[in-house]
């Protein structure tokens, strides 16, 4: 890790440098990395010139994992050691994943946490670890291309990913040594890629059918603001299902009773090739005989293929209909197609017919998400002039609490714009009740038992009162990454409790730290040095931010004394950051942060006033021109 540069007290901070920020599309079938260079966003190729990294990890060799094409080549020979479509298992419980695991011929490990892991020749591997291997390869590719460590990454997730799946993705990035600037919804990323190119205004639908997931989002673009109006989809529907439908057809046609895992994988590959050929050709031959000797080959016509996938494509339209209604729009101005599976002609026809618009396909549907993510990363890293683009995203699934009788009380309904903070009051059910158990759930179902369970925690220390007298305020806060924090407080006594929601089968912070220490890229890195570097980074960020803020607003918003007090604390922190006492840097950073809060609040208030003043002028202009 590069040493942090810290300016001498009194000197101006180092001139602003372009940060190395990347966008990563961590896909079910393929993954890509992109960055903005010289004002242009583009995907980065590997040494052989290919931009798509197959999202496949092989663990046959106990000395290290193989990733990408080389891993894919091992799939038939070592099906149990070769993890494909691992994204389907991210953040899912063991029971939940069983069905998919059987289809893919994985052996699931037994884990006390209830989290999924696969048994391989190199030991148990979690989906998070496998994803981290993929991310690490992309990080390395970017590091080599850009000539230095990556400062931050925007990683895309399906809009329909739930809390657990998002957290798992973030964990994988941390494990791969990446600093996550933002988790970005894939359709939103695609809209950014298109919107910036065309300077669009209006309502657009993004139809994203990838290998394993389907997403639909409706957005409104207005003067550089992308407002997601609604989003929906299906986390278990994609091109893989098209392949599976072909395999099921082959098995049925040829009466193939028992297949070995390797043969099954072989058939899947043959099905995928046939599907891809059928995008252009009228028929394709499936070389089954090579995979299952004596079975003979089969020919699949495009018509036959379309009949097989028709029900799956129809399922996507149901989600589209609901999304349009949620967005409260009648029609859209444009439809953007994302994901390799939108190359299937039937998909394009059906979508064009549904939206009454010819879909846009100018940007390669495989690259468009990574490109959008790179643009957002560039903005978040501070490489662009302010104000040129803003994303206002929503939560895809309702968040709520289990109440009496196992019913769900929704606190934050789906498609609420984030960040969001919502409070709701509850009360006790029995006389003298001193604790309240809170069960946080996600989803649209009415019964808690049918919903996704996110976390449970207890509020204790409620003074004994008659039933219904206690006033317990529960606050749900969702940040800009779509991650949830819940707190509860008894209003009369102030008894308080809170939880940052981590799914019960996610990784604990300790687990991540342990893994980081034993994992590939960080084995040599000392924990202490890492903590010091991170703490210094925090300190530097705070100091740089304050330097800039003071230069802008100190004269206007601070008294002489307030200004001097801040400078004093800043000097203390600068001195501390030059040393190596982690605890002291942490304490002083914290202290300076608190001391500057009032200043920050005044600056925000000023922004609000300015923003509205700007609007008034703009409205005046409009009136004059009208």
């Amino acid at each position: 890790m590069a040493l942090m540069q810290i300016a001498e007290p009194g000197q101006s901070p180092v001139p602003h440098q372009e940060k190395r920020a990347v966008g990563i599309d961590l896909g079910t079938t393929n993954s890509l990395v992109a960055t903005v260079r010289g004002g242009r966003a583009d995907v980065l190729p590997d040494a052989d010139g290919s931009v798509m990294l197959p999202s496949v990890v092989n663990y046959s060799d106990t000395s290290g994992a193989l990733v990408g094409a080389r891993a894919l080549a091992m799939a038939s020979e070592h099906p149990e050691d070769t993890l494909v479509s691992v994204k389907r298992f991210m953040g899912r419980g063991r029971a939940d994943a069983q069905r998919d695991a059987q289809r893919s011929h994985y052996r699931l490990g037994d884990s006390e946490s209830g989290m999924v892991s696969f048994v391989t020749s190199s030991g148990d591997v979690s989906p998070v670890q496998a994803s981290a291997e993929i991310l690490a390869v992309l990080r390395e590719r970017a590091r080599e291309t850009l000539g230095g460590d990556i400062d931050g990454a925007v990683i895309t997730v399906p809009a329909y990913f739930d809390e657990a799946q998002r957290q798992a993705t973030k964990d994988a990035a941390t494990l791969a040594g990446l600093r996550v600037l933002r988790l970005l919804n894939e359709p939103t990323a695609a809209a950014v890629a298109y919107g910036l190119d065309a300077g669009e205004e209006g309502v657009i639908a993004v139809y994203d059918l990838g290998g394993g997931t389907f997403d639909i989002s409706i957005l409104r673009l207005h003067r550089g603001v992308f407002e997601v109006l609604a989003t929906g989809g299906d986390t278990a529907l994609g091109g893989d299902d098209f392949d599976a439908a072909i395999v099921a057809w082959v098995v049925d046609e040829l009466n193939l009773a028992s297949l070995r895992p390797g043969q099954h994988r072989g058939l899947q590959a043959a099905a995928r090739h046939a599907k891809e050929r059928l995008s252009g050709a009228e028929s394709a031959v499936l070389p089954v005989d090579k995979i299952v000797p004596g079975a003979g080959d089969l020919t699949l016509t495009r018509e036959g293929f379309e009949a097989l996938i028709q029900p799956l494509v129809k399922r996507t339209l149901r989600a589209c209909r609901r999304c349009l209604r949620d967005a409260q729009v009648e029609e859209v101005d444009d439809v953007v197609m994302v994901g390799g599976s939108t190359r299937v002609p039937l998909v394009r026809e059906v979508v064009a017919d549904f939206f009454q618009r010819e879909p846009l396909t100018d940007i390669d549907p495989d690259k468009v998400v990574a490109i959008g993510a790179a643009i957002q990363a560039d903005i978040l890293a501070g490489n662009r002039p302010e104000g040129d683009l803003l994303l206002l995203d929503v939560i895809p699934l309702s968040l709520g609490l289990e109440t009496m009788g196992g019913l769900v009380e929704k606190i934050v309904p789906r498609n609420t714009t984030i960040p969001v903070a919502r409070a709701q009051e509850f009360t006790t059910f029995k006389d003298g009740q001193t604790a309240l158990a809170l069960h946080i759930v996600q989803g649209e179902r009415e019964l808690a038992a049918d919903s996704r369970s996110l976390a449970r925690f207890e509020l204790r220390g409620i003074p004994p009162m008659v039933a219904g007298a206690a006033r317990i305020k529960v606050v749900f806060e969702v940040d800009a990454d779509g991650l949830l924090h819940v707190s509860a407080r008894e209003e009369t006594t102030g008894a308080q409790s809170s939880v940052t929601v981590k799914p019960s089968f996610g990784l604990s912070d300790e687990q991540i730290t342990d893994m980081l220490q034993t994992s590939f890229s960080h084995a040599q890195e000392d924990k202490q040095a890492r903590q010091l570097a991170e703490q210094r980074l925090d300190a530097q960020q705070l100091l740089e931010g304050l330097d800039a803020a003071l230069a802008d607003d100190a004269a206007e918003l601070l008294s002489q004394a307030e200004c001097e007090a801040l400078h004093q604390k800043m000097r203390e922190l600068r001195d501390a950051a030059a040393g190596d006492d982690v605890e002291q840097i942490r304490r002083l950073t914290e202290s300076l942060g608190r001391a500057s809060e009032a200043f920050a609040a005044r600056r925000m208030d000023k922004s609000i006033k300015q923003a509205l003043a700007g609007v008034s002028l703009e409205e005046l202009d409009k009136e004059i021109s009208e």
């Binding site: 609901r322 705070l542 609000i608 703009e618």
Partner: protein, 179 residues
Amino acid sequence: MPSRNFSQNYFELFDLPVQFAVDTAVLGRRYRQLQQELHPDRYAAAAAHEQRMAVQYSAFVNEAYATLRTPLKRALYLLELSGMTQQEVSRQQLDGGFLIEQMELREKLETLHDLVDPDTVLDHLVTEISGDIGTHQAEFAAAFEQSELQAAASACVKMQYLEKLLLEAEQIESELMER
């Protein structure tokens, strides 16, 4: 950390008059303008405490926008500003005529499943309910302007009933689509 703007009411935040009628185009423009300044993405490179504050401000602006944008939420919020609690609003007595109409509408919705061509009937019902909601919105606006809070609250509860019915109609519509 209490701040001046958190105690502002939502109308003040967007510099709009405290009344039921809202120019949604102006509201939307001002909302986007505020988020351009306050959204946490604008503070991605800032210190952690400034980011936290941006999250709070941005969430406050989102909440204000969501409240003022939706007529029912806006009506409830106006009553709240006038000192009426949610419990007081929901305790409003409704006239018998309205309740009977409600029951009739609900019965019509429930028989949709048995019809050969439910879509036309459903469309018709949705139009009827939406029209009723519009009527009660106008009632609310007039009553609120005259400071007749009881009458305003009563119109508000009727809007609530009808919105719920509309949701049920949508639910039935999606069930019909899937069969």
